[in-house]
């Protein structure tokens, strides 16, 4: 492919990418002209799960229901309702599931306490394992008196690498 053709294709791709960007910007254009309302709408709907695409927030989802709910929330903000009132409105209809941060209560105890339980279990298992390993190591044949002395001697012997003149492979050893 010639460089010119390559470049023109690159330009076309760039143009398409930009067109997509513009298209998206058009779609996300707020319906309300009031920036405060839009900011609150963003903040609230980012805390709420879209029931249709369950891994998206109502703020980010393009599902029809999410659009309807954004419109609903916008209307409630303009009617002067508080954030809590709007959240309560959603929970009354779709349950706690709609909240990205589930509340701490009896039914969510396992959800919130689960990681802690696993941590405690993990620490317990680690402790159990280390203790058993210690016992196994101690139960292994201990050193006799002579072996212990030799081991001590080896450990206290100066490291040959520290004093080059005493190492086993000195240059002079290689001389005839």
């Amino acid at each position: 492919m010639s460089a010119r053709l390559y470049f023109s294709r690159f330009l076309a791709a760039l143009g398409l990418a930009l067109a997509c960007q513009l298209g998206l910007a058009e779609e996300a254009r707020p319906l309300s002209d009031d920036p405060v309302t839009e900011q609150r709408l963003q903040a609230i709907s980012a805390e709420l799960r879209c029931l249709v695409c369950q891994n998206e927030t109502i703020a980010s989802s393009n599902a029809d229901l999410a659009k309807d709910l954004r419109r609903e929330i916008r209307g409630m903000i303009q009617a002067g309702q508080s954030d809590q009132q709007i959240i309560d409105f959603m929970v009354a209809r779709y349950g706690d599931f709609v909240l990205y941060r589930p509340p701490f209560k009896a039914t969510t105890l396992l959800l919130w306490g689960g990681p802690l339980i696993f941590l405690v279990l993990g620490i317990g298992a680690l402790q159990f394992y280390l203790r058993r390993r210690n016992r196994v190591l101690q139960a292994a044949r201990p050193l006799s008196g002579e072996e212990a002395r030799r081991a001590d001697a080896l450990l206290t012997e100066p490291d040959p690498a520290d004093s080059p003149l005493q190492g086993p492979f000195q240059g002079k050893d290689l001389q005839p």
Binding site: D64, L65, D68, R93, Y94
Partner: protein, 196 residues
């Protein structure tokens, strides 16, 4: 010692497999509705096929009834519809059809610039046609053009079916199409119980 360790790994693996198998068989779309055991939200919507008339749930006070959310663009509704038609013939309980976003919900139509009057007329035409084609099990059908009543009922996937008791309390909600099992095991016994 080695055998013991191996057995532990096997047990842990089996536990993990069971956990994942259970997780895979759960339906994440089935979210328990907070509306069960709560009063059915009030609404007043125009009726299909009865020009100028509206319907409100209060009119059903003293009756056990069902509310079925449907739309002509909804594929699963077609799947459950024969069951509803059969149920309608048996006259177990009045079934009210809530036609949900007939025009706006159809992704193949651009209704954003459509005047309300026109949308209303189109919704009536499409809903009537669909009921003619597939059978009409409904005591009456109402039109929820903008889906606002759907929001009050926590609708997030059409079809959905509610069983509402004599006092106007929602006693059961089915998300997704009705199945013969759900009908036989849950809805029919519940209606019988509520009618006592």
């Amino acid at each position: 010692m080695m055998k013991n360790k191996f057995a532990w790994i096997l047990v842990a693996f089996a536990a993990l497999v069971i956990l994942l198998a259970v997780g895979l068989n759960l339906d994440p779309r089935e979210v328990p509705s907070p509306l069960v055991d709560k009063p059915a939200p009030a609404f007043k919507l125009p009726r299909l096929g009865a020009a100028g008339q509206a319907f409100a749930p209060e009119e059903m006070r003293g009756k056990v009834w069902m509310l079925n959310v449907w739309a002509s663009w909804c594929v699963s509704c077609r799947q459950e519809h024969p069951l509803l038609v059969q149920l309608g013939k048996q006259q177990v309980a009045p079934i009210v059809g809530l036609n949900y976003k007939e025009v706006r919900g159809d992704g193949s139509l651009d209704s954003s610039k459509m005047p309300l009057e026109q949308e209303h007329a189109l919704a009536r035409e499409r809903a009537t046609q669909w009921l003619n084609d597939h059978g009409d099990p409904y005591t009456l059908t109402v039109l929820d053009l903008d889906g606002r009543v759907g929001i009050d009922y926590g609708v997030y996937g059409v079809p959905e079916t509610y069983v509402i008791d004599k006092a106007g309390i929602i006693r059961f909600k089915q998300i997704g199409p009705l199945t013969p099992e759900v009908l036989e095991k849950k809805i029919l016994p519940l209606i019988a119980e509520l009618n006592q």
